[in-house]
Symmetry: D2
Subunit: 301 residues, 4 copies
């Protein structure tokens, strides 16, 4: 028996780069959090402390800033440029993974007109991109995290099996809330990334809203199916969706009902933990799988 080195990677994580385009008085900005990782032959660093193969993580950080000087473009384009650069930096580097979080900024409206150089940060979801270069292959996952959505009706949950530990009553009308994490893999790289992101996001929201839900699993699948139907460049979608429970509060001890159809507001308690966690993949059956595209990305089951 021998003890050996297995899969490994290293890089610089969470480089917070902001690039401002000042070419005209109407500035624009891109605000990213970039994490790079290199794969290849780094065995000697592990077994002998020999760093001859180790492109420093400090140099990776410098590269992020230097490349940003030429303009960032979309998170995906920036990730592709960086990942190709890193993967091609030395013969012993076989691949690279670049993960990007992108924070949105809206122009502040002053007197009804969008301001040239003042912005407020868009709340809500964070746009993500994960680019994996493996030899000459390039894989791109576009995505978003923490898109918090809720339906006040149009959600049922019933027909489940009942065993010793099942006490949950069935319901035909519950609050359904989740924080969507979704990532969609593209079949290629000839994509209008920013327009594509907006379009998929719209599909996700419209499908969540429009689906009469019998299970969060059903909503998840419908969202994935709609993305694949409406966006030919997408091969596969993976979701991680917590079921953020909103429990109908029992007010009967105070002589109050809490009927869905009664007068007054219906009162729920929003719970933190525990929560359901639904994870699933929806994909085309004629596109080759690409497990390496997902390597290291959390929430893939």
């Amino acid at each position: 028996m021998a003890i050996v080195l297995g899969p490994n990677q290293y890089g610089k994580a969470e480089v917070r780069v902001v690039a401002v385009d000042r070419a005209t008085p109407r500035h624009s900005l891109v605000d990213l959090n970039v994490s790079a990782a290199l794969r290849g032959d780094f065995a000697a660093a592990h077994t002998a402390g020999d760093n001859a193969h180790v492109l420093t993580t400090d140099a990776q950080k410098n590269t992020v800033f230097a490349f940003a000087r030429e303009g960032i473009g979309s998170p995906e384009e920036f990730g592709i440029r960086l990942a190709r650069h890193f993967a091609g930096s030395y013969e012993w580097v076989s691949g690279a993974r670049v993960a990007v979080e992108s924070y949105g900024w809206d122009r502040i409206s002053v007197g009804g007109a969008p301001h040239d150089h003042a912005f407020s940060r868009t709340g809500g979801e964070v746009r993500t991109a994960v680019v994996t270069v493996d030899g000459s292959d390039v894989h791109v996952l576009t995505g978003l995290t923490d898109l918090v959505v809720l339906k006040t009706t149009g959600s049922e949950f019933r027909g489940f099996p009942r065993e010793r530990y099942t006490t949950l009553p069935e319901t035909t009308d519950r609050v359904l809330a989740t924080a969507v994490t979704a990532r969609w893999r593209h079949t290629g790289t000839d994509v209008d990334w920013n327009a594509g992101y907006d379009a998929v996001r719209t599909t996700l929201l419209e499908t969540f809203a429009g689906t009469h839900s019998l299970a969060l699993q059903q909503t998840l699948y419908a969202m994935g199916e709609a993305v694949l139907e409406q966006h030919p460049a997408v091969a596969e979608v993976r979701f991680s969706m917590p079921n953020k429970h909103h429990f109908l509060q029992d007010l009967s001890a105070f002589g109050l009902d809490n009927d869905l159809d009664g007068p007054g507001a219906v009162v729920y308690h929003a719970d933190d933990r525990p929560y359901g966690l639904i994870e699933g993949t929806v994909l085309r059956d004629d596109v080759p799988a690409a497990p390496i595209a997902w390597l290291g990305t959390p929430g893939s089951c």
Copy 2:
């Protein structure tokens, strides 16, 4: 010398109540995080474990849910109802403080039309309200936290004194970014709270955008002054504004400039810590001070 009990309060914190108005097919919801605290004579609980004066925090929680059944209205109205109720619950209760965080929800747009019962959570700032009832006095602070704003130009910082530890160069063009926490005290309670909140928020954003900044302190003061000038019902504004540093990245080691006026994007590094922290109050000089209105609210210097 004797050891004695000093100021004290207790209550239930972070009750997550969601109230849904289902009176018509077009639902609406209010999503709050409510913290209550009672003040008064609770000495025996402390010194003897005698709970005869202790309205339980569990009952406070129940009250939040029960009152929500009648509809919440604005966070301020709900806070006033609750604080008056708690302060009047027993003769030994002299006052109450109710702090509310309010989370916004936007209707999801489906095919261009706002959906009746599907929502996405508004990102960005959290709206806050702090209601203090002290005897028959009612004080209301409306506010917001974490309104993240940024200017890509229109910000200078120069003319500061230089001593042994001062190494910062002067600048006539820097990125200015902050996460605004602001709270404004009202002179009374006859206020259209929701419309007033929106209007003050607009004033804050427009003034941040429109002020050519020589110091974050100047921007802070301008924002407070504008609120007081435009909103007669506001007596006082307190701000806590971190200076979220965006440092121009030095790219010269790679043979690159990073000039503000050159071609390409200008590249900054967004730093986490340390950050400047600017805190200040702007107020009318003809309105009586109300320190109790601010008791227990962080960020008041």
Copy 3:
């Protein structure tokens, strides 16, 4: 009516300084998070963007690092040195507040012997110090946050009043858990800060453990009283103690009891929110109050 500037302060927050004493092969380290704030006449910066009075926050940061070069000593001593320096830096500076978080490190034990230069971070509570210099006055608050403690028995809660919204049953045996934030004000500065901290921490823990609790308020008061009785240099203690609820889980639906005295483990659910929040002060009645010592410190009610 005029609009005027009220109380204000500014400074550099969260300077993460680590100082290593390498004078002998047995190294030691101090690991701090330092936040400074200056008070005084900074009106012109606010109203006119005139920074002639503004000692830059960058210089404050530099000062923290430069002063650390001479050795940090205890958090309190370091805070006093810094606050006195800042308060004395210019005639228009009337005072300074320096808040310090201190992170503990234990020597890693190798073969039973403490290592000379390898450490693991002490978990649990963070030690805090808040130094306020106001003119020639110096106030020191020592403290800790997030000291999480729990009793599995020896805690009752009964005898409380019952009104419409009170549904909580009385109990003579519950789990009591809290995360103690405590700050104690010293009557002077001639104190062995590190030994004093350890001694007060021991008093807090022993009193929490040893008090048969009839209310968390009673435990809080007992802890403060013990500190004052045992530590003459302490004038006042302020606590903020969440009641971290552990609810007995009802297992009857599965044909199981959950009796405190039955066989098997007693099963509780640890809840996140809401939680009770108990805040209170215990002090000597013959020591002058010092509200400025507490200005800007959260959790003071």
Copy 4:
């Protein structure tokens, strides 16, 4: 082309169960955060909203509490019991994954003696266990997260290649700090889990301390190698170790040196972001791989 359902799982996450053994006056407690997930044929729930196969996440939660009533034992034993139960609950359930975080509690010492029923929460790392049942196979990963360690010397970093973006100077004496996440896979389930955990933890700490580090990769590998050499029941170890940078502060602008060998303390700045991130696996070459054991566990590269 067809759109199909791919890999999926669902369950209840973050069930916070606390079990107290009160069999004698000397109580003990186990404090866990349990997340369960089921794998199998849940296609109908996704494609048709048919929940006939969906053991509710609410029932999963109930099961956690009910099983705790019999006593929890070690996190691994509890995870095995639960995962086997879930995997065997219905014919369409092919497997289950149960992930457990375990929080430690120390007895409070009163007058030098450990208290019977008062505890303070152990800080520092969280112990973890991940149990995967797949048909009749059982895989167990024991681990820890956030074990923060630091060396003030005995760490070099040099010999790395230099290209256009490499500006980092070589060093023969730097601070090395990391927050260890490690997970080790066992070859079987006949293990003394609690004793084994303590022993591996000791090996990790002693190896970190005792290794003169030429690269964090080298330290990582040495830690894994030592675990495998000293613990025959372990087949494989995976690490995720951020390089938490501590930069030597340049004080020259203030006329101060910051020499490693000079008088006074050596002053570092602890940075938050970016950080290096080193991930790697160390394993025996004669043990079959078990990718399913790691499915869904973050940090596996």
